[in-house]
């Protein structure tokens, strides 16, 4: 990626952003509804250029991408919005997956629950884990926090390996799934049928987008960004920083847990193998690639991280190398990610700006992670 290309793309993206900003709400809906419908129809359409077949079944590739999108959305709350680098996000993902497995798999000694009940349960339990991890560690400085969370992710994986009731590599078979059968008697939510799972995840992702969006455009979202930009100043402006950091951690954890439980349900099998640090870094790459702090950006990043190895199966062996290199190159040349940070922090911001100055606010493409630098210069 050369800087020349960046220059030419940036105004373009910015124009698009400004155009979108200038549209009235109703028009935005007119554009959005067909886009959303198109997203839902994707696995059925299986468009030839996009299709990942014959390497990977396209609906399942779609499910994977959607699952990554949900993960990225959750991690973005922590990394992008609150500016807390979490390298152990896979730990929450794992806890969610194990919750689903422990309560639905016949291999578990625990009472059986309907699969759909385990989704909110997974969120509650991972949230609890988020609070337990966050309470002692969120006072730490950014990079220490990153290493401690990395340690947490590894501890979850190691415990899954060495604590007998979690069944290590043997794992749990026949993890549950939502009920329902097709007319021919086969399961709707079968492991082999990606489409219903995809729709479920897309629906939950949209719901989470709305909820996280609500948070963003409230004192909570503003507190997060303020903490990210300058934690001391935020405190002095009356932001209870610890409380809101903990909330970011807990909410991010809950979404991670939800996606873990969904993953467990779709694959139908949970063991200790897929919750390692490389997976965690892949999650981080999804967030950073598209632009941490930008919800659309992280969705895009998640799509790239999940789709590229599925589509170009010959690259499968190289995927970690590719994303590792991508992280270096991106940080050097475009630390804000492909789209850059983008947040709206006021519920009625559009109206306010229109009333005050007759135009929408600036579109930014700065890095959400770059905020800390201001401190370095100042102090």
């Amino acid at each position: 990626m050369t800087s020349a290309r960046n220059e030419s793309r940036r105004p373009h993206l910015q124009q698009l952003g400004e155009w979108w900003n200038s549209l009235p709400r109703t028009r935005q809906w007119l554009v959005l509804i067909p886009v959303v419908l198109l997203i839902y129809a994707l696995p059925v359409l299986n468009p030839p250029i996009l299709s990942t077949e014959p390497g990977t079944n396209f609906p399942i590739a779609c499910f994977n991408a959607a699952r990554f999108a949900l993960i990225a959305l959750g991690l973005n709350v922590v990394v992008g919005q609150a500016g807390l680098l979490d390298l152990g996000y896979v730990g929450f993902f794992a806890v969610g997956a194990y919750v689903a497995a422990l309560f639905t798999s016949p291999d578990s000694a625990l009472a059986k629950l309907p699969y759909l009940v385990t989704l909110p349960l997974a969120m509650v339990i991972t949230m609890f884990f988020g609070v337990v991890l966050g309470t002692p560690t969120l006072r730490l400085r950014g990079d220490y926090l990153a290493i401690v969370t990395l340690g947490f992710g590894e501890i979850v994986r190691l415990l899954a390996t060495i604590v007998p009731p979690l069944k290590g590599q043997v794992g749990f078979q026949e993890v549950g799934h939502p009920p329902g059968r097709l007319p021919d008697g086969s399961l709707i939510f079968a492991s082999s049928n990606g489409t219903p799972w995809y729709w479920l995840v897309v629906t939950l992702t949209i719901a989470m987008l709305m909820l996280v969006g609500n948070l963003e455009r409230s004192r909570v979202g503003r507190a997060w960004v303020a903490i990210r930009e300058d934690e001391d100043a935020a405190q002095i402006m009356g932001v209870p920083t610890f409380k809101f950091k903990l909330w970011a951690f807990a909410i991010g954890a809950a979404i991670g847990g939800l996606s873990g439980a969904l993953f467990a349900g779709e694959v139908g099998f949970v063991n200790n193998q897929k919750f390692d640090v490389p997976t965690s870094v892949l999650f981080l790459a999804a967030v950073v690639l598209g632009g941490s702090g930008n919800k659309v950006g992280v969705l895009l990043g998640a799509f790239v991280v999940s789709y590229v190895p599925d589509r170009f199966t010959e690259l499968a062996n190289y995927k970690y190398l590719i994303f590792g290199l991508a992280l270096i190159i991106l940080m050097i040349f475009r630390p804000q990610g492909l789209l850059g940070a983008r947040q709206r922090l006021l519920a009625k911001g559009r109206e306010a700006y229109q009333r005050l100055i007759g135009r929408p606010e600036q579109v930014s493409s700065e890095s959400a992670l770059a905020a800390e630098s201001a401190k370095g210069v100042g102090a």
Partner: protein, 408 residues
């Protein structure tokens, strides 16, 4: 001795830390130490009786068919690729021989890479199943991925023969499309025990298992058969472990005649190597998961005390097969499960040659199949388990894995 040792320590430490960049000429040729002091010698068997009427893929040469495809699904990349490639080459060889002999029946081969990952396999298999020209499948090689995908094959009524997945539970899922071209762990475990007790004359055995489904299942079966001989010496290791000093000292204290390691070569090799380097002189017995040239490479001279059990046939002893195989593999000799892959493909090809064009037909054909292959006699029971199966014994001899005859 201790004085000289101390001198060496001090010299090492001092020289090392001063980092004097001098380097001396090299005068080393690794000794053969290690000491697999074998007091029991099992002779090498260099002949493998081939069933006279073993089915060959070429068949009669006048089959007609069109537009049918056989698929291979399994690892081509990823950490467990080698096993998959062994099988794939066997499959490829069978298809080649068939298509060469039968000009009017060209069967296509499609390959699907699962990376051996139970998380990835469902997506791959779902895709495979959706391609309607595929009427038979060889795969999947590993138990975990087989477990994750058996239902998908079942739904599509698509027959798949695994040449290497040995978990006994796989045939207990009620799948009618799953067939296993070799004996399962429930057969191999007791066979290994028998081998250790009867052939190696061991009275005291340590059983070390890894944390995989495979390792645990096999160890359980072997322990049952070993009974009192192994009851005092048990240990566990985990996948990815590098340092086995705790396990090694446990074994050294127990002083067993043999160690049965139930797992894969990645941990088995360093374990054996560390045992031998600590002065262990007993036998090291391990199942098919360890029987691999990689074991020899990783354990080096220490591998001299190793014996293997495997429900697999030594394909390399079939000269004709071995030569033909090298043509496909680019010079590599047949590996573990190459011949099973070859035989399983032959069965599917015979079905196609008999005029079958659809999945249901081929499933039915395999279900009722009864005939010799190069590796063994193939006839399945209702669950997809072979009616009779044999376990074969191997040992390491002069840096090579050699066949020592059947066990059961």
């Amino acid at each position: 001795m201790s004085g000289a040792r101390l001198v060496r320590v001090l010299t090492l430490a001092a020289v090392a830390s001063l980092s004097v960049a001098g380097c001396a000429a090299k005068t080393n040729s690794g000794d053969s130490g290690g000491g697999a002091g074998s007091n029991v010698d099992i002779p090498v068997v260099s002949q493998l009786p081939v069933p006279p009427n073993a089915a060959s893929p070429a068949g009669s040469g006048n089959a007609t068919c069109s537009g049918v495809t056989i698929a291979y699904a399994g690892a081509e990349t990823g950490p467990n690729a080698q096993l998959g490639i062994n099988i794939l080459n066997g499959v490829q060889l069978a298809i080649n021989e068939h298509n060469q002999a039968n000009k009017n029946c060209q069967v296509a081969l499609k390959k699907f890479d699962t990376e051996g990952d139970p998380g990835k396999a469902p997506g791959v298999v779902t895709q495979l199943v959706s391609e309607s020209d595929i009427i038979g499948v060889i795969g999947l090689p590993f138990s975990g991925e087989s477990k994750a995908t058996g239902g998908t094959f079942q739904q599509a009524n698509l027959v798949h023969i695994t040449p290497s997945a040995t978990n006994p539970a796989l045939t207990k899922n009620g799948w009618s499309t799953f067939f296993r071209a070799l004996g399962n762990d429930a057969v191999q475990g007791p066979a290994a025990a028998k081998f250790i007790v009867d052939k190696l004359k061991a009275n005291k055995v340590c059983v070390v298992q890894d944390d995989s489904d495979y390792g645990i299942g096999l160890a359980t079966a072997a322990n049952q058969a070993l009974g009192d001989k192994a009851k005092d010496c048990q240990d566990k290791v985990t996948t990815g472990q590098k340092d086995f000093s705790a396990t090694v000292s446990k074994i050294m204290n127990a002083k067993p005649d043999a160690v049965f390691y139930s797992g894969y070569y990645a941990e088995g090799a360093p374990l054996d190597q560390q045992l031998v380097n600590k002065g262990f002189t007993g036998k090291f017995v391990a199942p098919d998961g360890v029987k691999d040239d990689k074991f020899l490479q990783l354990a080096g001279d220490a591998s001299g005390n190793a014996y293997f059990t495997c429900p697999c046939v030594p394909g390399e002893l079939l000269q004709k097969f071995s030569d033909a195989y090298k043509g496909v593999s680019g010079g590599q000799a047949p590996g573990t499960y190459s011949l099973e892959g070859y035989d399983a493909t032959t069965i599917l090809l015979k079905g196609i040659d008999s005029g079958i064009k659809d999945r249901a037909g081929l499933t039915n054909y395999v279900k009722n199949y009864d005939g010799d292959g190069f590796s063994k006699h193939f006839k399945w029971d209702a669950t997809g388990e072979l009616a009779t199966s044999t376990v074969y014994g191997y040992k390491v001899d002069h840096g090579k894995i050699v066949y020592v005859g059947t066990i059961s």
